[in-house]
Each structure stands twice: as C-alpha cells, then as structure tokens.
C-alpha cells in the first residue's frame, strides 16, 4: 500500500517525509575492496557511490610531471548507465562529469598533505551506482572515506552536503493570504522561504540549491557550487544550513571510520 502523503504539506514535511533540517540516511562502509589501497561504499539516501583509491604510488606518466614537488591527483568518475531514471550513455567527453572530477581533484588537493609525496600519483576512482540528488556531495564524502582507508595523511575530513531553499508553498497553499496579491507586501512571502537540507533528486530539479563542502567541523568552506538562480538574500541561510549539515555528515563519517578501526582491532 502506498504511503499516504496527503498530510505532509500540512505538517511541513517534505516529499520523502523528512523535516527541513533532516539528512537522509547515510550508510557507509570502508575497506570494501581488497585489491586497492583504499575503498569505500557510501549511500546518501538513494545516491550510491563506490570509491577506490590507489596510491600514493609511482605515476604512470613519467617526465611530464614536475608539479612542484607535490603528488598529482587523478580523479575518474564513471556514471553507470542504469544509475539515473532514464538509461543514458554518458560520453567520455561529458563536461559535467569533467567538472565534478575537477572539483574533487581541487578540493582534495588542499586537504591532503600532497607535499609529502612528490612525484607520486594518487588516483581516485568513483563509480556512481544510483543517482538521487546530492551527487557531488556524495562523491566528495565517498572519496574522503576511501582516502582515509588508504591512509593518505590529510588535515581533516572533507565533508559535503547540499542545501536548498524553498518558497513555502505549504503555508500559502493551506491559507491563501489575500494581501499576497499586493506587490508591496510580497516581502512577507519572501520571509516564508525555508531552507532545506540534503535535497533528493526530485527536490533538486525543482528548487535552487547549493553544494557545500567543509573541512571537518570547522566552518571553513572548501567547495561551494551553486548552479541555479536564487536571490542573494536567500544565500545566507542556505549556506548556514549547508555548513551545519556538513558538521553532521562529519560525525557520521567519523563514526564509520572509528567503528571500522574498532572492528579491525577486535578481529586482530
């Protein structure tokens, strides 16, 4: 029997029954693949990612480097054809995918202590199994976990999540305010804008959102990507909610790593 969602909008619940500041279920494992140096499997809601890390190892391309005494980072993302709603073969030269991998490469570069590994390569392979929103955030989190598993020294967890902003349709639908028709009072409606945390695929298509990645629990932003048009005044709360969400993501990721460590010790 399908879930009765008719009362959701009255209770200000979202499509999937969450409140505005709730994360989706994050489930993660590390050391899932035996053949590589580090690996992780991460689910953020229905977005599922497998990440493998090889290195720091001697790079394949010799001579072309000279990157100033730092390790080179290679990121490759493969999106499975069955990951989306419609089966799509993404070409090799997809710029959107390139942008995602470029972002991860740049973000990881400053977090890892790459100066300790001059001349070597760290390659990060990400496989997207299912997409349901917050793709970049999930990719970053999966990469962080795999890098931790690989034992590459880094300054802190790089954790990411998305934050959106919604015009509060629930309240305006429930009780249509007559004064909203007056243009001068439309600012009243502006204030009814609610930020949302961790958007799913449907919400992402409808609402303006940004992906924010922070360094650990600090409020320092490493990645901030927004692709949709939004009033500048709404940016502040979106960022605040996003940064707060990152802190929670960090604590979840931290517990995953600690549990894994404990299990390793227990099993000897």
């Amino acid at each position: 029997m399908p879930l009765d969602t008719s009362s959701y909008s009255l209770a200000l619940l979202r499509l999937d029954g969450r409140r505005w500041n709730e994360l989706r279920r994050i489930h993660a494992q590390i050391s899932t693949q035996a053949a590589v140096d580090g690996s992780s499997y991460l689910e953020m809601g229905n977005t599922k990612i497998i990440c493998t890390v090889t290195g720091p190892a001697e790079g394949r391309r010799v001579g072309g480097g000279g990157s100033g005494g730092e390790a080179t980072i290679q990121v490759e993302i493969s999106v499975a054809g069955f990951s989306g709603v419609d089966r799509k073969k993404s070409g090799r030269g997809d710029r959107r995918i390139f942008e995602l991998s470029y972002t991860i490469e740049q973000a990881v570069q400053t977090t890892l202590h790459t100066q300790n590994y001059s001349g070597s390569t760290i390659s990060i392979n990400l496989h997207v199994l299912t997409q349901d929103g917050s793709l970049l955030a999930a990719l970053i989190n999966a990469a962080t976990l795999a890098l931790i598993d690989a034992g590459v020294p880094m300054s802190d967890y790089l954790c990411a999540c998305t934050a959106g902003s919604t015009t509060n349709t629930a309240s305006s639908k429930g009780a249509p305010r007559p004064q909203a028709a007056l243009p001068g009072l439309s600012s009243l409606d502006e204030e009814a804008d609610d930020p949302l945390l961790d958007l799913n695929g449907l919400e992402e298509q409808e609402l303006p959102f940004l992906t924010v990645g922070t360094l650990g629990a600090s409020e320092k932003v490493v990645v901030c990507i927004m692709e949709t048009r939004v009033q500048a005044t709404r940016l502040e709360e979106m960022l605040a909610v996003g940064v707060d969400g990152c802190k929670r993501v960090r604590s979840i990721m931290d517990s995953v790593v600690r549990d894994h460590g404990k299990r390793m010790v227990d099993e000897g």
């Binding site: 710029r95 959107r96 390139f98 922070t214 490493v222 901030c224 940016l235 502040e236 960022l239």
Partner: protein, 299 residues
C-alpha cells in the same frame, strides 16, 4: 604539451609580499577592475572586449534549423569557446585545456542554465523550425580574468545581436533580410555577469580582476555570477584553500556592486553604438525627399 612559464620563487614572494602590504603590481586597489573597453564590429553581434591586456572577441551568428525533438518549443543556443595559441603558449589548437572546459561550463551555467536568453523566442514553428544561435568566444590575449571578460563579452554580444525578422503564414515561413525588414534584437530575461575573486592567505586578501601573474600565485578562486537585480546565477568554488562561509557572503555582496557598475558600462557602450548606427534617427529614415545635392547646377 607546451606549458605556461612558471613564476620564479622570487617573483612569487614579491607579489605576495606586496599584496600583504596592500599593493598590487599595477597599482590598482584590491577591489578595482581594469578598465573594461568594449568595441563593436560592423555586423550585429560582433564584440571585442578588453580588460587590461586580456582580450576576447565574441561573435553571435544564427541559422534556421529543426529543433531538438524533445524540445519542440525551444530554439537552439550553443556556446563555443576557443583558446587561440596567440593568447598564451599553453593553448593548443584542437586540444581542450582544463581552463577552457571550466570556462565553457561556467558560461553555460551563467547564461544558459540561468535562462538569460529566452530560447522560446527563437522558435519559429514548433517542432519544425527554429533559430539556432551560436556564440563563439575567441580568446585573443590572456592576462588573467578570462572568465569575467568572456562573460561580459558574451552578454554584450547577445544584447548587440539582432536576428532576421520572420513572418509565418500557415506552414510558410519568410525570413527577411536586413534590407527588407529591420532585424530584431534577442529577448533577454536578465544580464548575468561573472565576478572572480582570487584569494590569498586563507581568504584574508581577496583580489578582483587578478592579472595572470596574480592568478598563478593565488590559493584559490571563487566565481560568482550575478545580475543587477541581485540574483545569484551561479557560484563556483572548486576546492582551493578553505575560507570562511561569511567571507563568501560578503564577497557576493561586493560582486553585486561590481556587476551593477559593469552593467552600466556595457549599457552605455551599447547605447553609443546604437546611436552611431542610427545617425539621423527615424526622421531621416522616413523623410520623402531623396539624397541628392539640392544646389544642382541648372541647365
């Protein structure tokens, strides 16, 4: 693969040392743009934009094609970028460099995804004919801040361009040349402009309109695209050193001021050009007497 000449350590230290004292190599303030120079070609939609030594040419062209089957009511709009080897030794013909992909992605997000151009207005007959608009961005000289320059050039070119007028009678479409009917400007919904902040010392120092040398020593950059109405169309901070969330907010506020100033410059130049093209105004166009010397010798 040719590479850019890297700055020496001395040059790096010098630039950074000067920045920490609040000085830039060319004597500008930290939040001052180089002068935006815009000139137009003879045709509509050809724009040459210079920001200091950085120079790009944007050119808009259009043709009539069949629309994509899944977007029957929309015209086609393509942005293509080309980095010419004359701009920098690091650019090669035919091979896309990383900066180029990022530039085209930013333009794509800033202008296409924010629906600055109303693509529905390019539709002639739904499902069978539409205008296909092509914007070519050529980078002729590279001295930093390509993204802001390219975005300004593209937005100016789109406002400058005029497409041929069409008339639809049933299934029959007539496209008029510029002689037959005055071409019509594109319908733009808003005019987004990019502002790139280059930062140093973990966000303590933020520079606007960094030159090439300043770009090479920066810790990271954040590209904010806004329009003059205060809407943020796009923000991109791809990694780089971490900065405070509050700094990002204050930078977007600063970006708005710059975008408004730049929009003013662009509008003024567009108006100048329109006046230059339309020398004597509508009165000259409509007058009945022909151009011939009035004091013709008799007999």
């Amino acid at each position: 693969m040719p590479r850019e000449v890297e700055l020496s350590n001395n040059e790096r230290d010098f630039i950074l040392g000067a920045l920490r004292q609040g000085l830039r190599l060319d004597g500008r303030g930290q939040d001052v743009y180089r002068e935006l120079e815009i000139s137009f070609g003879e045709e509509y939609g050809v724009v040459d934009v210079r920001l200091g030594k950085t120079r790009i040419v944007a050119r808009i062209s259009c043709e009539v094609v069949a629309p994509y089957p899944d977007r029957k009511f929309d015209g086609v709009f393509v942005i293509s970028t080309e980095f010419s080897p004359m701009a920098s030794p690091a650019f090669e013909v035919g091979r896309q460099n990383q900066d180029e992909i990022i530039l085209s992605r930013i333009l794509e997000k800033a202008i296409r995804r924010s629906s600055a151009l109303d693509t529905e207005s390019l539709c002639i007959i739904a499902g069978s004919k539409c205008f296909s608009l092509r914007a070519d961005i050529h980078v002729l000289d590279h001295d930093g801040n390509l993204i802001d320059t390219a975005c300004a050039g593209l937005v100016t070119a789109l406002q400058h361009f005029k497409r041929p007028d069409v008339e639809v009678q049933g299934e029959k479409v007539t496209i008029f040349t510029a002689r037959e009917r005055e071409p019509v400007p594109l319908s733009m919904l808003h005019h987004p402009l990019c502002v790139t902040f280059s930062y140093y010392d973990g966000g303590q120092i933020a520079l606007l309109d960094a030159t090439f040398a300043e770009e090479q020593v920066r810790e990271g950059e954040i590209i904010v695209t806004m329009n003059r109405n205060g809407e943020v169309c796009q923000i991109a901070k791809y990694g780089g050193v971490a900065v405070d969330a509050l700094a990002i907010l204050s930078w977007t506020n600063m970006a708005l001021v710059k975008v408004q100033a730049m929009t003013k410059v662009i509008q003024a130049r567009l108006k100048e050009d329109a006046e230059r093209r339309d020398k004597d105004g509508i009165a000259a166009e409509l007058r009945a007497d022909n151009d011939r010397p009035s004091e013709r010798p008799h007999g």
